[in-house]
Symmetry: C2
Subunit: 222 residues, 2 copies
């Protein structure tokens, strides 16, 4: 039987956080679709809480750029234009570059080992056509890299940018032609970190994300 230690210090989550997480997941998973209206009453009822925490959660989601709020009109799931996607990924590229540069200058062996492991699982995912595994291990791969900047705000912002384009992620990974490109990018990044070649790392990371932009935009235009 499994136990969880009672971390107790803060097992408590305010309802606004619960609502926030719920809505966030629903938006990211696509359960709530872009443009869809978010009615406070409906949400409150559905989640079994009052409007108060729902409203607070909506303010938080607005600040996260996941919903748009118009005073007296209400909230709706934010819809992204092609330009929005470019903008989001442009920011992500700039910040991932910060991450990879730190990683190249100094990454503990332990992290490098993890990085290699996740990359293997990542490549294996492609072989097995298990795109869920691909996505998860891709995420972990990048997580480790930008965590090495030891900059919480950087992590927060990258994650936020990632969340905004989350819904295109699977489609992106499943485009067959991208496969070798992505794999090569990852290998290049690993190589850069091992050789402490900051410039090569930065360049590869930028290519990696620019590539993503192109594929997503192309798939959108169809």
């Amino acid at each position: 039987m499994e136990y969880k230690f009672n971390i107790s210090v803060n097992e408590y989550l305010p309802l606004r956080e619960v609502v926030f997480n719920n809505l966030r997941d629903a938006i990211l998973s696509g359960e709530l679709k872009p443009g869809e209206r978010l009615l406070e009453n409906h949400l409150a009822e559905k989640l079994g809480v009052s409007r108060t925490p729902v409203r607070e959660a909506l303010r938080m989601l607005e600040q996260e750029n996941l919903v748009s709020l118009v005073p007296r009109k209400g909230a709706q799931v934010l819809d992204l234009s092609a330009k929005d996607i470019k903008n989001v990924l442009e920011i992500r590229a700039a910040l991932e570059e910060v991450g990879i540069r730190h990683a190249c200058r100094y990454m503990p062996d332990e992290d490098l080992k993890k990085l290699k492991l996740y990359n293997e699982l990542f490549e294996k995912g492609f072989q097995d056509k298990d795109y869920n595994a691909v996505a998860i291990n891709d995420e972990k791969f990048h997580d480790i890299i930008f965590a090495s900047a030891q900059n919480d705000r950087l992590v927060q912002i990258i994650n936020n940018m990632r969340a905004q384009v989350y819904r295109y992620r699977m489609a992106y990974l499943k485009v067959f032609e991208t496969r070798t490109a992505i794999i090569n990018h990852h290998r290049g990044i690993l190589e850069a970190i091992e050789n402490k070649d900051e410039e090569f790392g930065a360049k590869t990371m930028n290519d990696h994300i620019e590539h993503q932009v192109q594929v997503i935009l192309k798939s959108l235009s169809k």
Copy 2:
């Protein structure tokens, strides 16, 4: 007599926005000091509103990294460590680099003219020891540069990073030795834009912000 057209479409500001702006200004101006507790009742009373909009404003300020919230304990003005300052400015540097690269590739003449004007006023401010003018024109100078990326989210994030270290701004500009360095950075940036020399622009911008980090940290350690 001056008129303002009644843009009407949205002259209305929800109280949460009013409260948000008020608190934001109070924090940035230093009226509310780092670490200071923010009691919902007090704020509500002081601003003549109920707790509801105050609470919503606090959630927004939390997402902006201006206040920290602990469930059931309350809110307080966020205090920054030396590391926080480094982190904030590291992000700002990365994103201003995106801006300056765009500016170097293409900036309309009109904007370049404005940029030169603000830089003159900026330098004049130093001569006149009018540090308020220095600060304002420095802000406008940077505004124009990163606006040229035409990326709203980028602007939003840079402004947010700027807000977080806003309180060190004046002290920074008033350190006498920094004067020539800052002026030279700005001139270099202008030169880079005129010559469309992206690499030089990026390098100078990075130096500019790195310099700011050093000066602020030094002044803090005293």
